[in-house]
Amino acid sequence: MIFAYKVIRLGYPPYPDMESAAWTVQAKLELTPEKGAVRASLTLPSRPSGYNLAQENFVSRGFGLTVKEGNFNRKADWAIRRLRDSKSLYYRLLVIRDTQQRSFASRPDYPAPPDLEEPFATAARDLVNKVRAESADTESFAAAMLNRLTGSEPDENMDLFLAEVENFRDRVNLAQTLLAGARIPTLQLHGIRLDADAQRAKLETLLAVYNGDEWLVFDPVSAAEGLPGDFFIWWTGQGELAEVKGAHIKDLQISTRQRVKSSLELAQQRAELQKSRISLISTLQLPIQTQAVYEILLLIPIGILVIVLLRNFVGLSSFGTFAPVLIALAFRETELLKGIGLFVLIVSMGLFFRFYLERLRLLLVPRLAAVVTIVVILMTAISIISNEFGYETGLSVSLFPMIIVSMVIERMSVVWEERGAFTSIKEGIGSLFMAALAYLVMSVDMFAYWVTVFPEVNLMILGIIIALGRYTGFRLTELRRFKPLLVKEKAPE
């Protein structure tokens, strides 16, 4: 109880912080085949400023894939000799907010003045001269030029150019041309904004201007300066996001999703906590794989608490004190109903073989060993058969704790002989029921969050278990069991 008080008083957020720092970004490239071999290339993000990349995945069955790594330019090239039907290629990555600012391009060369035809050459020259007169440095020059470009300050030279501009892309190109006229290096920054979940994130282009020391970023539409914090730079330069040969791009979509519960996000949250409050012990310092293990291990006390309640308060009995918790852990991977199905399948088949073994009169240890071996063989068989038929759940059978399963089989068969099939099956179902309940409690997301961020919650659980340990009242089942002992109520007078 003290721990509950502590958690509440110290004000640790009991729920995951929704201002997430991690995003899953996915690009989906849908192709319709035209003719012959298909080559598709997708520009990949490379070290964007303010973000870190992790867990890149490509889903492209049947395609050959090569990833070309460059410093500021990465590309994924998919190739297939023949494409029959429409096909979607996926690229997925985890984007993590990072405070470190990086350069997104190397130091550029000064561009050659653009080679323009008349009357554009003269107009450009006039425009550059005029803007240069109004500005002090590269930064103010670029700002003034872009301001003119947006049409906020009418200028007849600019109008000449703007007459040629048909779309946004042209406008950006024009800005580059005009700035090149003043020998100012520029770079297009293409990317998306990570501010909300989006099925179809809008690609935006910003213009980076080099002032001799660093890159300054301008919005070519509003002429506002600065790189927005939520702007995720996907690629730079003139190129397209995707280029395809031999096929037609039916659709190209980028979706973004906030990772509500990523352990990395939790790590970030933890860092925040550390700055403002006490430094707390947490598994988040551990490597990711170990974290995943602990996420499960830390949940075990909660499952065990459920077993304590069921045994000492409700009065159910099961095979093996904590076997249901281990079975419940296996359910986490298989889903509940399928897990129960698989468990019943393995145990009943195991029982069948166990009865056969009984006739061989084996000694105890070899017999147990034989049961374990049979269970392993059964698991393998179930996996292979279900794989043949394409049932994926069958594969997760390997997650069942086989020693526990074997012990359940052994205990069931002994009880079967001593107390009869009914008792045996009843207790088996009891164990399964307890496992299912433990699973349901352990699969509550909030508990999983709590134990990973606040491992001390387990101290709380320990406290509850100890407190419950002194419960000497009746069990629920005893209310029924001792029914014959009820005192007859006196009839109301």
Binding site: R361, L363, T472, F474, K483, P484, L485
Partner: protein, 326 residues
Amino acid sequence: MIGRILNLRRAGVLGLNARNGDYIFHYNQRKYYPLVDDKILCKERMVRENLPVPELIGVLREMHEVGDVADMLGECKEFVVKPANGSGGDGILVILGSQGEYFLDADGRMVDFETLEHHITNIIGGIYSLGGQPDAAMIESLVHFDPAFSRLTYHGVPDVRVIVFKGYPVMAMSRLPTRRSHGKANLHQGAIGVGIDLGSGITMGGVSGNSTVSHHPDTGAEIAGFHVPGWNRILDMSSRCYEAVHLGYLGVDIVLDRDLGPLILELNARPGLNIQIANRRGLRHRLDAVDAHCIELGDVVENPAQRAQWSRDILGEAAQQAKLAG
């Protein structure tokens, strides 16, 4: 539900949690457990204390000794094979006689020698012991139960269970084997529990599982009103077990032998609670009465005979009825 809890509480019914938490943990020290859990040790202690027990024919501790069973048995054709650390009556094989090559078990089934040996190796392997630890098999001579009980039992041997608290018998019942229990005196396996009046040793109504029975299902005899022979002796013996094993909350199982009289079959450090159902009485009030009596006595320690007498006088049905009426 709350009403029922309060009602059971008023009836003084002891639940499993209360038995474990309030009595077993307090009055039964762990170091004395092996004395009752290991039936071989228990038997040795009983013999030392001059308490009557069924004769021990032999003990088998190692797999390779199983071959010696034939020598051990000799001409004996009536015996019981038990795990030394069994629980709940599991793993007990009762042999009533032999027919040619075969033994006959309590159900009248033929058991060949190989089956017997397999059973013994199972016991030694630990299949019936808690936690599957290696165990020892013990062979005891068969108890020839008192014919007085014959109307109330089907095969098997009926026994008397007495709960002894701080050396005072507090409640007693008899367990009658039935066809369903395969001749075993185990309530979980279908035997009938019959409450016994501590004062007179006369049986009261019976229960099978949780329902009441008035007649034995296999013999048809009426269960209530039967006078258990040698009742005073049974209570005295039960009281003496307290000094023998130092367990404050104890179950004493006694069988009545035709020739030898009451014999202590085994002791139990965690006696079950069904005795309350068999007696239609909760244990708690009686346990409280013993506590109160002990406080009253102060430093005086009563001997077993005095304790048994106190129980007969105070916890007997006559006294209890009078108390209820008063």
